[in-house]
């Protein structure tokens, strides 16, 4: 019944990320509010929002097609699966080899692909605006992400996140290339999640909207799923940074219940710290113009490429 246990752990992880994602967003919002000297809503507010949205009826635009209605489920599912494949508290889960880091990146890309399509389905200018900006941003963010994957994979000789985390845990010392990759990853994470300074998740001003413009026509349960997917994505990137660059506390393969518990605690801690840092970062910086974003992401791409090149050339490890 080893298999059952493994599947159980895997299931736990899936449910865990699903459960933690709104909380993380709530934390970030709370921290931001505090930093701005507001009281802010409760950290549980995202849960309440989701429940409320789920209960509401869906208002569909008249010419919305079936695609428009399917996309939220697809986006949610793809993001959820991707988030569940990133090691959170333990490595080497039974299905972790289903998809490596490249595939995870591509899964996120799939979600974005369908969301961008949905943005164009109703045929309003807002949707098209959001979609076209979104694909422009992703066309730089994705290669940057792939470069980061390269850099990590070259250090760890693997694109499997579990293996990478284990290698990192074993210690590879301080490396310039990895530092470059970390910076690039943070920049990509900011862009991917539509955070300040690339996008502002709480704006509805058409000149600056990206993600919000795309999903403007969504309402009710559809919107809830999309919001949840966005929260999962934030969680995913924080988990990713955590498991690759601060892998301490991760339960190794074959760890028992105590190891898992330690992993869970440390994971919670890392998320809390991450949320705080995100809030601090967003509070201290201003949103940039849309056409500054390519420069920002281009820098990320270059950093990633530089890190990879360094590794290729150094050839050690």
């Amino acid at each position: 019944m080893d298999l059952m246990a493994h599947i159980l752990v895997q299931g736990t992880q899936m449910l865990l990320v699903l459960a933690l994602a709104p909380l993380l967003t709530g934390l970030v919002r709370k921290a931001k509010a505090r930093l701005q000297r507001r009281r802010g809503a409760s950290v549980l507010q995202p849960y309440r929002d989701l429940v409320r949205l789920l209960r509401k009826e869906v208002v569909l635009a008249q010419n919305a097609s079936w695609l428009f209605r399917v996309v939220p489920y697809l986006v949610f599912a793809a993001t959820w699966v991707a988030a569940a494949l990133v090691p959170t508290f333990a490595t080497g889960l039974i299905f972790s080899w289903t998809a490596d880091l490249i595939a995870i990146t591509a899964l996120i890309g799939s979600a974005r692909f369908f969301l961008a399509l949905a943005g164009m389905d109703v045929g309003t200018s807002f949707g098209g605006l959001g979609s076209s900006r979104e694909v422009m941003i992703s066309s730089l963010a994705e290669p940057a992400m792939i470069m980061i994957v390269f850099a990590l994979a070259l250090v760890a000789h693997s694109t499997q996140l579990s293996t990478i985390a284990s290698v990192m845990l074993a210690g590879v010392g301080l490396r310039v290339s990895l530092a470059l990759a970390l910076v690039a990853l943070l920049m990509v994470a900011v862009a991917e999640n539509g955070r300040i300074p690339v996008d502002n998740p709480s704006t509805h001003l058409e000149l600056t909207m990206v993600h919000e413009a795309m999903v403007l026509e969504y309402s009710g349960r559809h919107l809830a799923l999309i919001e949840l997917a966005a929260q999962l994505k934030l969680l995913l990137f924080l988990s990713l940074v955590a498991c690759v660059f601060v892998p301490w506390g991760l339960a190794p393969v074959g760890a028992g219940v105590p190891g898992m518990a330690l992993g869970l605690v440390s994971y919670g801690g890392k998320l809390a710290v991450g949320a705080l840092l995100v809030a601090v970062f967003e509070t201290s910086i201003a949103k940039m113009r849309v056409f500054r974003v390519p420069d920002f992401l281009g820098a990320a791409l270059m950093l990633g490429l530089l890190g990879t090149l360094l590794l290729f050339v150094s050839g050690i490890l």
Binding site: E57, A84, A103, G128, I146, M147, Q160, T163
Partner: protein
């Protein structure tokens, strides 16, 4: 003039006879096409016949991959050489690709051909084109190879100019046939060198025994890149492709883009991997560079086009770039003593060959269906087709997702393998390669991301939103034959994506024959994952990704519908206070591309936007126009044609001399020759 024995080195096999029979049958169909073009029975006869023949040939080729190589010599062609034929694993792989692609195109043509207003210009050439491609793959001597190669070009050229009354088609055909001829001449030179090495033996067997060395080998590589590259669409020899592929009838476009470019890839592999002997360490560099450049330039150009079929044609250039990246990696690994890694890279390239054949044929079929339904290829006249053409919309969505390399479809599987091959390259000893490979990897990642943008744009503008023209508003779903062809290809894309392991295993005989090593068997891996090197290193399981995603989505849907709300209300979309906005106010193809155009296309493509504002008080609308150029035209071909024109103009004065001046020419020639005699001998 060495006499070659007319006996083949290899025994013939049933597979080879089937393939040969297929060629004969297709040629007979071509002749029949001339005779029956004007009869109503002509179309079903030709396309039905072609469907049957290619299906049989394709299935036979599939089983031939694992069979031992077979050969045969016919007393045709160059008299003292004969026509050598050979069916080995590599040609079997490509035979399967082109015949199955051909079968799909024939099936599609059964319905699509009904709308053709000039069937006599299509029916004879369609089977001839298929026959030509088959012949290239069977040829085992330089003459038969080039004859078939050029015959294939000629037949497809006839198809490109089939609709010669439409603007631009004749010019497209012209550019096409010129570039084709350029390619053939380059290959002719390459074979000249290869044959020189073996003392004038034009048979491939003779060339294999005496491969070129040193500078000659480098020259062969260069010429193969020029020759095969011009047919495949490598930048900057791609200029004909976006003109010619869209000009042909759509099922032919599918064949040209999806299948014929693969024949070009085959030609490159055959010459470089098979006939040129062991590669030098640096051979991978130019191939990688060409692939990377083609990938990015191709997809960027695709983003700037407003014509559906032209978008697809440029996207072909991108995918050819990806295939050449795979081939370049395989060369680099193979030359530097990493046969296992070479096997991975080559497998990735071949896998992508197969995938692209399926995806691009599917997409061209879809574009053809849209063309039939609406009468236009301009994206800005389409929109909302998802409501009017539901089946086409679904298969096109699959095609777009597949070519955008989204898991769990097939495009992702092959790109994933290429990335895995890239990640093995730090082992390569040479510095040039060390710097080159990651850069190319970045280009490839960029191309993949841009491809997704490109197909969001294509699908979003053409199929989603509201119709931008009456034709789009009145579109009807296409006939059952066309749908069947598209569904079959879409199913192929899904299956190859979910079960990549079987495809990889099937390709191994061909890979092993070329680089001397195969990838580990994938069919027996638990859960049907693919593990190219080792499990700890990387693995991917399309089936499980699909299962998890589908399950999660289903779970979410069921849960929400069961426990939360399932109410739906239809309402007008949010109009920002301006009700009844015109459908033209939607994002168009040009406006969707605007951010990317600004970011990527300003320099090299000289993308410019121009807004003409009416003077104050005037009631005319403001006009927006955007323009971009293809750098290959701007920097290479236009100057070249200008130079030819200039010299021709200068030379033309020779037409206007007087008799006395002509005599002067004769006189000068005489004096010159006498001087040579006086001074030289």
């Amino acid at each position: 003039m060495p006499e070659a024995a007319f006996a083949a080195q290899l025994p013939p096999s049933g597979h080879l006879l089937v393939a040969l029979g297929a060629v004969a049958a297709l040629l007979a169909l071509a002749a029949l096409g001339v005779a029956s073009a004007h009869r109503p029975a002509g179309r079903p006869l030709i396309y039905g016949g072609a469907l049957a023949v290619t299906l049989v040939a394709g299935l036979s080729a599939l089983t031939a991959i694992a069979a031992p190589a077979a050969g045969m010599v016919l007393p045709l062609g160059i008299p003292w050489i004969g026509t050598h034929l050979r069916l080995d694993a590599l040609s079997a792989v490509f035979l399967a690709v082109i015949n199955l692609g051909g079968a799909a195109a024939s099936l599609y043509g059964l319905g699509y051909g009904r709308h053709d207003h000039a069937p006599e210009r299509v029916l004879p050439f369609f089977p001839a084109f298929l026959a030509g491609m088959n012949m290239v793959l069977l040829a085992d001597d330089a003459y038969s190879f080039l004859l078939s190669w050029e015959f294939m070009s000629l037949a497809s050229w006839a198809l490109v100019v089939a609709h010669d009354k439409e603007a631009g088609n004749v010019r497209a055909g012209l550019v096409y046939i010129l570039m084709a001829s350029f390619g053939t001449l380059a290959l002719m030179l390459a074979f000249g060198l290869l044959a020189a090495g073996s003392g004038g033996g034009y048979a491939f067997d003779a060339m294999r025994e005496a491969p070129p060395v040193g500078a000659f080998a480098a020259l062969v590589l260069t010429l193969a890149m020029l020759g095969a590259g011009s047919k495949a669409g490598l930048v900057p020899l791609h200029v004909w492709l976006p003109l010619a592929h869209p000009a042909a009838p759509s099922h032919v476009s599918a064949l040209m883009s999806g299948v014929m470019t693969k024949v070009a890839v085959y030609g490159f592999i055959r010459i470089v991997f098979d006939l040129s002997g062991p590669p030098d360490w640096w051979w991978g560099i130019p191939v990688l560079a060409a692939g990377g450049i083609a990938a990015v330039i191709g997809v960027l150009q695709a983003l700037l086009q407003g014509d559906t079929k032209r978008v697809l044609a440029y996207s072909t250039i991108e995918n050819i770039g990806l295939i050449f990246i795979g081939l370049g990696l395989a060369l680099a690994f193979s030359a530097n003593g990493f046969p296992a890694a070479a096997a991975l890279a080559l497998t990735a390239a071949l896998f992508h060959v197969l995938n692209h054949a399926a995806m691009k044929s599917l997409l061209f079929f879809g574009a053809g269906a849209v063309l039939t339904a609406t009468g236009t290829r301009q994206m800005d006249e389409l929109g909302g087709l998802i409501h009017r053409m539901p089946a086409t919309a679904v298969v096109m969505l699959i095609g777009c997702a597949a070519i955008s390399a989204l898991p769990p479809l097939n495009g992702f599987a092959s790109e994933w393998l290429v990335f895995q091959a890239v990640l093995l390259s730090p082992d390569l000893p040479a510095w040039g390669l060390k710097l080159m490979v990651p850069a190319v990897g970045a280009l490839m990642a960029l191309a993949a991301a841009l491809a997704a943008a490109c197909f969001v744009r294509l699908y979003g503008v053409a199929f989603l939103g509201r119709p931008r023209s009456p034709m789009a508003a009145g579109a009807q779903e296409v006939d059952a034959f066309s749908r069947a062809a598209m569904i079959a290809l879409a199913a192929t894309c899904v299956l190859a994506g979910l079960l990549p392991g079987f495809v990889i295993d099937a390709l191994q005989p061909a890979v092993g024959g070329l680089v001397g090593e195969t990838m580990p068997a994938q069919g027996s891996v638990a859960w049907l994952s693919i593990i190219p090197v080792a499990e700890s290193r990387s693995s991917y399981n399309g089936l499980l990704v699909f299962a998890f995603t589908a399950l999660s989505a289903l779970l979410a849907a069921v849960a929400i519908h069961r426990f939360a709300s399932r109410a739906v209300r239809r309402a007008p979309p949010w109009d920002c206070g301006f009700p009844n906005a015109s459908p033209l106010a939607q994002y168009s193809a040009a406006s969707f591309a605007q951010p990317i155009r600004r970011v990527f296309a300003r320099g090299l493509f000289a993308a410019r936007e121009k807004v003409e504002m009416p003077p104050p008080g005037a009631l005319t609308p403001a006009r927006f126009s955007s323009s971009a150029r293809d750098p290959a035209w701007a920097f290479l071909f236009l100057p070249l044609t200008a130079a030819v024109g200039y010299v021709a103009e200068r030379a033309n004065t020779l037409q206007y001399l007087t008799i006395r001046q002509y005599l002067g020419l004769v006189f000068s020639a005489l004096v010159l020759l006498l001087l040579v005699l006086a001074l030289w001998t």
